[in-house]
Homo-oligomer: 442 residues x 4
């Protein structure tokens, strides 16, 4: 240890700290000096040690300090303009493999190499993810931070390549330290403590997550699956903790009722597409009798859209209290929801983010369910409507391509039928409406 | 499975294979078509599936097929010249973060994204390493393959960042499947089968390797360590399988007597520096009484250099048979070896690759040992001379920096003394030579 | 599978079930028939299969059915009286190794072999533990069940020999399925859900449990330890979930504040002694600076004893509400508690079961703490008094032996001093009492 | 540690060693004193510590010392004759559950409790197995050691109950430390080093072993299986290391070609029966297409039996060199072998130990193979003949019972046909013999 200390002492001396060590330094200049040392020749010899000190210094910074350090990284470590210009000219004069490669190399900011060297320290990957996360709220006001964010995204996208992710089943044998993260990260249907979690990991449930070796025990994204008979039409029965547990052998359908990203700092690096498809494969291998794989998804943008697009169709606040009124509204709301979810905005599909995610993955809009989520949030966002997106491996590529081309939304006949406007409420006889509804959800 | 087949059938149809499937296709066009599909919109939806098919097709190619596929990758998937030029002009006109980022993005060849998508398939990383390895022998004759090699190196260097490597101790509890790889990969002192390996994993030995999660059970680099008393002066006693095993508690010195890279396709992506330093930390934690960490290394370039630089000093072929002659040569050969290892070529250190590796890592040239490796290869390459490079954490950065600056070689006084030319053999009294030698090895 | 079914069909036929299988049988006769088959020649060939069927049948029995099956096992499978008598006579005539061995063999009831064969089935050990547990409530009324209980105890004691137990640390990385068992089994200071559990597994806490390979994930006994400075005098600060976490490096004392047996069916097979001693060894190895290992234990029998032995000293129900009264009572109650815990009943030590456990293990009665447990149960059972038993490896054997000989209780001088009766309360000046107390707890 | 030393010092003092410690003691008296301490009250408090010292002392004993210690254990620690007699009289007077239990308890020698306490020490189980093994060679001359051997067998049989064994597949991912034990323990077809072992663990091979938690990494018994098409008729093709590897999917038959016990000290405690049956279940689950499970077994007792029973049929030493002679002998030898293997000795089955093992497990004698093992040992013991015993779960119980009743050997029609004596060689036309043989092996 003496020698290590000696070596660090030399470092402290070399950055003007004398024998007082890093505790004596203001953390920001310390971090800056260490960043420069890391990219220098010194970093070649002692990279892991310097990176470790740098990460320690960075973690000691407060919010303002981290912001200043991010500015420091963004403004410095840029490509050498003269060299880059020369490389470009050389390439334009003679666009050979060599000049092309040199141009690409010089266009890559040295910042990327610095970030790669920061990753030499133990636990650095998690800190780089945090660093990126800290930029998001700032970017709008301060576009000068974009290069740093862009470099981080580029590196993280490469490091978190699907080939390096590990799919793991989560169950009651999983360490509590990982399980408590599910409770924290669940973004769709909040987990109400450990008893609720346990129900979600019962024998007729499945939960899978992607992990990365650099973030041990830390899920990147997870999906919760219910094994049921028939396409689930409402979420409360799935979440009901008192529900009788069924054996997975009776199920014919896997319902993906919740997908949550866990790492805000990996935003924009998509895992959900891969996760769903691999989980479909896993479930098929384990339970060959499953014949249908679908989600039960919220429609978070429905009310906002309806208020703008068809304000006259927005029900009054107390509509749920009046059964007749609610019943009367059903056809109209389902019709508008079908419109909302199949309408392409500028050829890029519907405005709803959940819809775009699943349709972009190649799923089909299968069914729109009435009073499917009666929790306050569900009623507020979408009048309780939820949607099944169905994953049918035979068609996902065609669905995806059509959607990517011009926003075409693959849909079932049931949904197609909803696109015909229902008769005006005053004309409609209740019996007819009821029959119509049955045909939708039956 | 039916659906998957259906989906692939669609793919086969779309590339003109009809219902006959990939077996009917010539593998090269198949691989090419799949590569294009992978980088297209289709690859966004079904990336992992297409990548898996592509890797399968690639593995089915013979040497010529792989070469043609490499050419296909090298020549295509290049930056868009017009867009790149426009991005450059925009940046030159206004060198803002945004234009800078856009220029970097467009200068990166789409080939890199293609290679990242290939990595979506299970086991793809190993195949990409193989792909790169297959290029090496071809590069000299065919520089057009350079862009592919360069992209692969860039990606692999990022993916095999130190932060993603796992150091593991190798011992007799390690799976045989991994151990047999040590036997295959040992590049310095060949392992003579399982009994020899077992000796090298005894209680007074240590072996550590780096592993990467994408190559399970496959070492990237490993180091063999002997725990001894005093600085080891010869390698045969370390390798001797009949040697009495000592308990590690008696040792004061760790001798790194063999370091081998395992993955030819990762050539140029250096792990050795990190490995040695982390192993030093591991050994210190386990055995705090160790006070010295040094190598016992070959000098592979010595004879070649001597034949050119001081041919008169090269001994006759039978020198080993004549004890008096051998003894007489000792001072001169040690002197020349010291010259060879401290002489800087164009300010970049000695020509010997092993020396450059350890000196570049910040080690010190500690001692030159006479008759340290009496195996045929050792005698042939360096007249049996071996060298201790000592790793002293307090000085590695300074040593590294001096070496990187102008090739200055850190060395002990013992080595320094050898740089003084010895008296001519006929002048020398044997007793003096003997005393000199004692002072060198004592 | 056909063959297996055929084989079982043969079994069902052979016990009169025809082709209707076990579902058609009354479970009790089925279990009885299978038990007989298991001990017969048939059991030699197909032991594991028959045992599996037997366990399945037994698990299907209700309470009355299990009781009847236990009677069946108790009454049958007894030693052969004639052979046993003959073996005894042969031994008495010639007490040789051979006759001695034969006598022992014939005196062992065949029931033991039957129980060993039942253990051939997967998961059988847990069922045999359950079987034993089910007997406890019945034994008083029905001594005829004693032989079965005795055989089970004998077998389980041999199978759960210390040599087969595995000590494991329990922390937040432990699977939730195991952690929830801690919550269920904690018998001393109830765990108030997962947050409370998490606090008990913090960095300045330790928890260890014994496991047995036949009961995976199922703790047999566990101990909770707090790492603190000085001998803990009260339990609430240890349990306080809002308490600031300290680092274990500051601690000099390990307080064993809760020990819970988990398997009622292993009652009488003691693990606590081994657990405490091995945990002391583990903690020493991890934290060499720890210098004291002691419990903070309840005195569950104190009130009951006091009511009988010194009823005039029992405080009124509302004593806690009157600070002066509480203060006045302190010397007397501590004095009586010291008497209670050092008094030997018939030469077998004090009546308190916790005291007998620790003193029997060789611990020393170190300190008696006033208002150490202010939870309702603590106040009710022992007026809030708790006790430190100290484990000092140098003395445990001598302490144990003295205790085992005649119930002599090893105690500190502090406890010894309490044995002198305090002055009568009306004589005592408060100041004096307070000083006395300080000297006791200081 | 100070206290531990102090405690041990007290022990050393108490057995007359003063401050000189155990190194100063003669190991035998030390072991004897520790054994007595372990069974005494002292052993209750410090059992694990004393047991550890005792095992250390025992391991330091040489062969004579161990023998003396075994005598010490055998002669002492016997039941109390007076108490035992009283318990017997009480039982005879009143054969109640209580008296029966007390009689059984007093008839069990205290030696068993001592051995159970020895097992408190880490690693003790392996030493107790060694202790038992060391007795075997001595027992014939010294029956006084029988009680110790008997107690050890009784304890080990209970501890190594099937319920505590773990079946594990052995393959090339298994630690080398375990694999080298296979090489050492293989008793049927010697493993010729690591290359041979590797072949036996290839994709079309399986190897399974039982392990016990108290002997980590140490197989108790293992079986080697070849996955083939059709019933294997010769062993050399199975062992041939150059053999083309086939994929297990093509196989319809699993051939158990080698079963080896590993722990001589567990002799007489049978695992083979359980192993074969569980491996059949494992293979079925993995490879449902397998329809036949059979051995390819040696007939080690054949020549010895033939020399006694039909000496005129024993071929001359050079029979293998003369193809015509060998051919001529075939019918007769196969006939005699069929006789040998179906003949019941005193109603207990054939004399061949391998036959008794498999037939006793319920297998059927399926086929007798000519020139099936041409290795020297095979030719010497059985003229190259090997046998298939087939495990058919539908019949094993009936086969076992018939065999156990009166030695009836279940056999195929092919074997049955061999029991008819062939025509005398001089009468036989070669063509007929050849046809006969084809029908046997076809």
């Amino acid at each position: 240890m003496t020698e290590t200390r000696t070596w660090l002492d030399r470092l402290w001396f070399s950055i003007g700290l004398g024998g007082r060590g890093p505790a004596a330094a203001a953390p920001l200049p310390l971090a800056q000096t260490l960043a420069q040392a890391l990219l220098s020749r010194r970093g070649e010899a002692s990279g892991a040690a310097i990176a470790t000190e740098l990460l320690t210094a960075w973690r000691a910074l407060d919010g303002q300090g981290r912001l200043d350090f991010a500015r420091f990284l963004s403004q410095g470590f840029r490509p050498d303009a003269a060299q880059l210009t020369a490389a470009f000219e050389a390439w334009r004069a003679d666009p050979s493999p060599t000049t092309e490669e040199r141009l690409a190399r010089l266009a890559e900011p040295p910042r990327q190499e610095l970030l790669r060297r920061m990753n030499l320290a133990p636990g650095a990957t998690a800190s780089l993810i945090d660093l990126r996360q800290s930029l998001f709220s700032q970017l709008k006001n301060e576009p000068a931070l974009l290069p740093l964010e862009s470099d981080l995204r580029h590196l993280l996208a490469s490091w978190f390549n699907r080939g390096f992710l590990e799919l793991r089943r989560i169950d009651w044998q999983t360490p509590a330290a990982t399980l408590e993260k599910l409770i924290a990260y669940e973004a769709v249907h909040e987990i109400q403590g450990w008893d609720d979690l346990r129900r979600r990991l019962d024998a007729d449930r499945r939960c899978f997550a992607f992990f990365h070796p650099a973030l041990p025990g830390e899920p990147l994204i997870f999906v919760e699956v219910a094994l049921v008979k028939g396409l689930a039409a409402a979420v409360q029965p799935l979440l009901d903790r008192a529900g009788t547990e069924r054996t997975p052998k009776d199920a014919d359908t896997a319902i993906f009722y919740s997908i949550s990203n866990c790492q805000e700092g990996l935003r924009g690096i998509s895992f959900g597409n891969f996760l769903i498809k691999q989980v479909v494969e896993e479930l098929r291998a384990e339970l060959p009798q499953l014949s249908r794989f679908a989600t039960l998804s919220p429609v978070p943008g429905f009310r906002r859209w309806l208020e703008r697009d068809a304000p006259e169709a927005v029900p009054q606040d107390d509509w749920r209290n009046d059964a007749a009124q609610a019943e009367a509204m059903r056809p109209r709301l389902l019709h508008h929801c079908a419109r909302f979810l199949t309408q392409s905005q500028d050829g890029r599909g519907p405005a709803d983010p959940v819809a775009r995610f699943h349709l972009g993955n190649g799923a089909r809009l299968e069914r729109i369910n009435w009073l499917a989520n009666t929790a306050p949030r569900g009623l507020r966002e979408s009048f309780g409507v939820m949607v099944n997106y169905q994953y049918d491996l035979a068609f996902i590529e065609a669905n995806h391509e059509a959607f990517a081309n011009d926003g075409t939304v693959a849909r079932s006949r049931t949904v197609e039928a909803l696109l015909t406007p229902p008769p005006e409420p005053d004309e409609a006889r209740p019996g007819l409406a009821a029959r119509l509804v049955r045909s939708v959800t039956g």
